[in-house]
């Protein structure tokens, strides 16, 4: 890539494969992000969230974006969702430029408010299918029931969201997104608001679902452990503004290997990538000025 970022020299292993993505059908490449710079305005500042970020997501990837808070990872996901326009660079899904939000990229948010409180679980799952006209009538209904069954909420299908626990609400949100069969499922720290036990259970269930359906997933988190367990590939971003620090393979890890020494090694390696700046704070700032 022309603009390999200043920090990106460390762990990037994907560069050599980019050339292969050009041929049409053979490629598993689904989403390509090139030179993406994102900025947003607060009342006082223009904040640069990410700077010249490149990466590609392949079919059936569980692609995790990991970084400390303030590295622009949620902003990055919102841009892929179509909620933000890039200042520089491009985001292409199946070779089409992303310009607006759309149901081919279903988002699951961290907040429980994403469910419509005026609809039951079943109606919530049905809503996007019918609103977009993607699935209709009986077909939509059957799909909704099937996916609710998959997330083990069949007993609660006629219940309103305010009667569900946090984990159940999140399951509904995941079911609703999956029922649409999007090209890519975007999850923005979906389990961060859950308690530790529920979070662990949800991670396992998400992996089970992936085993069954093999959807492509893009997952934002700030937890190294979650990244290694959930992800098959991990993009590590440096803080403020987010730049690519590394892209690592984590496909061999799951809950069964949490205690394996390799898991610890990878975890330590990521920890080093994320927090080295705190040790060498001074040289880091001078470098930025130079």
């Amino acid at each position: 890539m022309p603009y390999a970022t200043a920090q990106g020299a460390g762990g990037s292993v994907r560069e050599s494969q980019l050339g292969a993505g050009m041929s049409a059908d053979a490629t598993p490449e689904l989403l390509r992000v090139e030179g993406l710079t994102l900025q947003y305005k607060t009342p006082q500042h223009l904040v640069t969230a990410t700077y010249q970020v490149d990466f590609s997501v392949y079919q059936q990837d569980r692609y995790v974006i990991l970084g400390p808070s303030g590295c622009g990872k949620s902003t990055l996901l919102k841009a892929v969702g179509g909620f933000m326009k890039p200042v520089q660079g491009s985001i292409r899904l199946r070779d089409r430029e992303i310009t607006a939000p759309g149901p081919d990229r279903m988002m699951v948010f961290q907040e429980f408010e994403q469910l419509m409180p005026w609809k039951t679980v079943l109606e919530n799952v049905l809503f996007p299918m019918r609103a977009t006209g993607r699935f209709k009538g009986k077909d939509a209904h059957d799909r909704a029931l099937a996916v609710i069954e998959k997330v083990k909420l069949s007993k609660f299908r006629d219940v309103y969201p305010h009667m569900l626990s946090g984990g159940m609400k999140m399951r509904v949100a995941i079911a609703r997104a999956m029922a649409m069969e999007p090209d890519i499922l975007l999850m923005d720290e979906p389990f961060a608001a859950l308690d530790a036990l529920t979070r662990r259970k949800m991670q396992e269930e998400l992996l089970d679902l992936w085993e069954q359906v093999r959807f492509t997933l893009m997952f934002v988190t700030h937890s190294i452990e979650e990244a290694i367990i959930v992800g098959s590939r991990i993009l590590v971003l440096s803080p403020h503004p987010g730049r690519v620090r590394a892209e690592l393979d984590a496909s061999s890890f799951s809950y069964d290997t949490v205690n394996a020494p390799e898991f610890g090694v990878l975890s330590k390696r990521i920890h080093g990538l994320l927090f080295e700046h705190e040790v060498e704070q001074l040289p880091q700032t001078t470098e930025a000025h130079a």
Partner: protein, 293 residues
């Protein structure tokens, strides 16, 4: 580094035990008694309050013993039922309610247009907030003289002042409701590619429904007040008078029980709309959805 010992408290033994027998508390789930349920029932509690007020009224009126100034509850009820049976009150009520529905409906329609415009453009927001802060404090009844010049005696003037009293209250509440819809919910809606009218109808209106409902209630109360006041001011309209006229007429004949019975009719209709119609809407929507307790 870690010179301080970790354990600062004296050692205590660990233990495990079987849960103790809990049958001492009786049934774990016990159905509530009739009395407990009655106390939990909104309608029952409110009926008790009404009964109490009626008793206070009756006792005070008898003690005062001056029917010209303050008729008793029983006298008022007698006049009221008499006029209901001979058709006077139903006639007056239907006249009033007809103008009310016209004005309320037109007010809501306009409020819908205004707020849709206001949420879709920044200019619209500015326009609505400015107009609202200008006109909301202006009592509708102060516009009545103007309405009489423009529309003459009759339903037109009534509808005009009612629209004025409904429009701003409802628009203001609806706009506040739209603005307080959580960002995540908005993004969910846009994620499905919803926009324009469909976005407002399918996402914003239901999500803002608690605020909209509050606006509808306030608007209704304003409309009802304005109507009665307006009828009191210019009395009869071309065909037949409303409840305000009924009260006005009774006053000029010094028929105090009839004045009270007119007021009672106003109150009864108010209570009915508030505690039956709006209550039912609430129970079926915002309470069922857990958006309001």
């Amino acid at each position: 580094m870690n010179a301080m010992p970790r354990q600062m408290t004296p050692a205590r033994p660990e233990f495990e035990r079987q849960p103790i027998d809990a049958s001492g508390i009786g049934e774990v789930e016990r159905p509530l008694s009739v009395m407990e349920r009655l106390v939990n029932n909104d309608a029952a509690r409110k009926a008790a309050i009404l009964l109490f007020l009626a008793v206070v009224w009756e006792v005070y009126a008898r003690w005062l013993s001056n029917p010209l100034l303050f008729p008793s509850f029983s006298d008022t009820i007698a006049t009221f039922t008499g006029d209901v049976i001979d058709g006077t009150i139903p006639d007056r009520v239907s006249t009033s309610v007809w103008s009310l529905l016209l004005g309320y409906g037109a007010g809501l329609g306009l409020a819908g247009l205004f707020t849709t415009f206001a949420v879709s453009t920044r200019f619209g927001t500015d326009l609505l907030t400015t107009l609202t802060s200008m006109f909301n404090p202006l009592p509708a009844i102060a516009l009545l003289p103007l309405a009489l010049i423009w529309f003459g005696l009759g339903t037109g003037s009534l509808v005009f002042v009612i629209v004025h009293s409904v429009l701003w209250a409802v628009s203001l509440n609806t706009l506040v409701g739209f603005r307080s819809v959580p960002e995540t919910l908005r993004m969910s809606g846009r994620n499905y590619g919803l926009n324009g009218m469909r976005y407002v109808l399918l996402i914003l209106i239901p999500a803002a429904f608690p605020a909209i409902l509050a606006g509808l209630k306030i608007g209704w109360a304003f409309a009802w007040r304005t109507l009665i006041a307006a009828e009191l001011v210019f009395g009869v309209s071309s065909r037949s008078g409303g409840l305000g006229w009924y009260i006005f007429e009774a006053r000029s004949e010094l028929d105090t029980p009839r004045v009270f019975s007119g007021l009672l009719a106003v109150i009864v209709i108010g209570l009915f709309v508030e505690s039956v119609i709006f209550r039912a809407i609430e129970a079926r929507t915002v309470q069922r959805w857990g958006m309001q307790r």
